[in-house]
């Protein structure tokens, strides 16, 4: 499994909205990757959502990954998982998922990005770059300069995350990110599909 062509948009589901509807809208708008993230949902609920989102991702030729739950990713035959620093370690997940599925790891410093690369990640979710309301964070934003440093240290694709919007998205690609990941910039927009489309346009039509 390979990542989408750079630069691409990854949309992460928002616990306040139906993830299937949101994924559908994001895909319509041109998102190339969807991550199902819902910490409080039951296993059967996650599985049912995953099956529905996977179908839609296949239709749009987008990647579909699941946050934390390797079990649900395997049961729903998703394309991979995204693992935070408190989730299952990448080596254990790799043994279960094999080489054909994608493992992404969250990193919040260039040092963590290097470790993630060493542990066999396929991509690194790097952030949060800017202040964000989407997740409860125990640390300050790491800023775009940190992204530039990480990009110079690791060869893995970096997906920038945290406080990304249509104004700042392109600059992060210029700093070395392969893609950007958003939650609220799409989910909280009145028209999620067009919000996704605007983001895709911003990162793909840069003045370079």
């Amino acid at each position: 499994m390979i990542l989408p062509y750079s630069p691409f948009l990854c949309v992460i589901t928002d616990e306040a909205f139906c993830p299937v509807t949101l994924a559908e809208e994001a895909l319509k708008g041109g998102a190339a990757m969807i991550q199902l993230r819902h910490k409080d949902a039951s296993g059967s609920q996650l599985f049912n959502w995953a099956v529905e989102i996977r179908k839609r991702c296949r239709k749009y030729k987008a990647l579909f990954i699941i946050n934390d739950r390797v079990d649900i990713a395997m049961a729903s035959r998703s394309d991979g998982v995204h693992l935070g620093q408190l989730d299952m370690p990448a080596d254990a997940a790799r043994k279960l998922l094999g080489k054909s599925r994608i493992i992404g790891i969250s990193a919040s410093s260039p040092a963590e990005a290097l470790i993630a690369e060493k542990n066999g990640a396929d991509y690194i979710g790097f952030g949060h770059i800017y202040p964000t309301s989407s997740k409860e964070k125990g640390f300050l934003p790491i800023g775009p300069e940190s992204l530039r440093e990480a990009a110079s240290l690791v060869s893995l694709p970096l997906i920038a995350i945290g406080g990304i919007n249509v104004e700042n998205a392109a600059s992060l690609i210029d700093l070395g990110a392969s893609g950007v990941a958003v939650i609220s910039a799409v989910s909280r927009d009145k028209e999620p599909a067009s919000a996704a489309h605007e983001l895709v346009r911003a990162i793909q039509n840069r003045n370079v």
């Binding site: 039951s42 296993g43 059967s44 609920q45 996650l46 599985f47 934390d68 739950r69 390797v70 079990d71 649900i72 395997m74 049961a75 729903s76 620093q85 408190l86 989730d87 299952m88 370690p89 254990a92 997940a93 043994k95 279960l96």
Partner: protein, 213 residues
């Protein structure tokens, strides 16, 4: 893994469930070490407050204890962690992903399902559950907020709708366990025995004598 074991020995009739008690003192591991080696039992690791990484670490430590061959180690819901740590089985809450979807990539795993009604027992059975867990049969403080206990009659009704082994849970004591067996239960399950630190071994022995006459 389970199927390999079951060929040698039947499913234990005692199921112990850990509950939010593991902390830095690793009480779960201490309790596991205290299990009488002669008593066949299943132990379900159920530590919902732990992150996946901590849960995997705990499961691996439990496996490393090299418990007696009479003890089966299970984990609540997370088949990925069971596979990674080399546990014997997974216990699925009623709202978990159904066992047939998980067995597809964990063919040797023992799968048990919590059920609260005959309808739920039928669907768990159709999805390939190896055993069922039904309750609360008797009054138990931890389940009071869900309403009154189901009672032994409901347990009997459920046991008659399935050929799978049914474990009764909820306020089970050596004194009332016979009522459950009379209704067709295969075994008993409890959180409290495991938590009741000093008397664990004694209570287990009492259950053992009752369940393995």
């Amino acid at each position: 893994m389970y199927h390999e074991i079951i060929r040698k020995a039947p499913l234990p009739r005692i199921s112990l469930i850990s509950g939010g008690m593991d902390d830095e003192r690793e009480i779960l591991l201490q309790q596991l070490k205290r299990l009488p080696r002669s008593v066949p039992c299943m132990v379900q690791i159920r530590e919902k407050h732990l992150h996946s990484k901590q849960l995997l670490l705990l499961a691996r430590k439990a496996v490393e204890l090299n418990l007696s061959g009479n003890t089966l180690l299970l984990i609540n819901e997370r088949v990925d962690i069971a596979l990674s740590a080399g546990l014997h089985g997974v216990h699925l809450p009623e709202n978990a992903c159904p066992p047939d979807k998980l067995r597809a990539f964990a063919p040797e795993m023992l799968f048990g399902c919590s059920v609260h009604s005959p309808a739920s027992a039928l669907s768990a059975s159709a999805a390939g559950a190896d055993y069922l867990l039904f309750g609360p049969v008797f009054d138990t403080p931890s389940k009071r907020r869900y309403g009154p206990p189901q009672g032994p009659d409901k347990l009997g009704e459920l046991c008659r709708t399935t050929s799978l082994p049914v474990f009764a849970i909820g306020g089970i004591t050596p004194e009332n366990a016979n009522l459950c067996l009379a209704e067709g239960a295969y075994g008993i399950a409890a959180l409290s025995i495991f938590r009741d630190n000093p008397e664990t071994a004694e209570t287990l022995d009492n259950f053992y004598r009752l369940l393995y006459p």
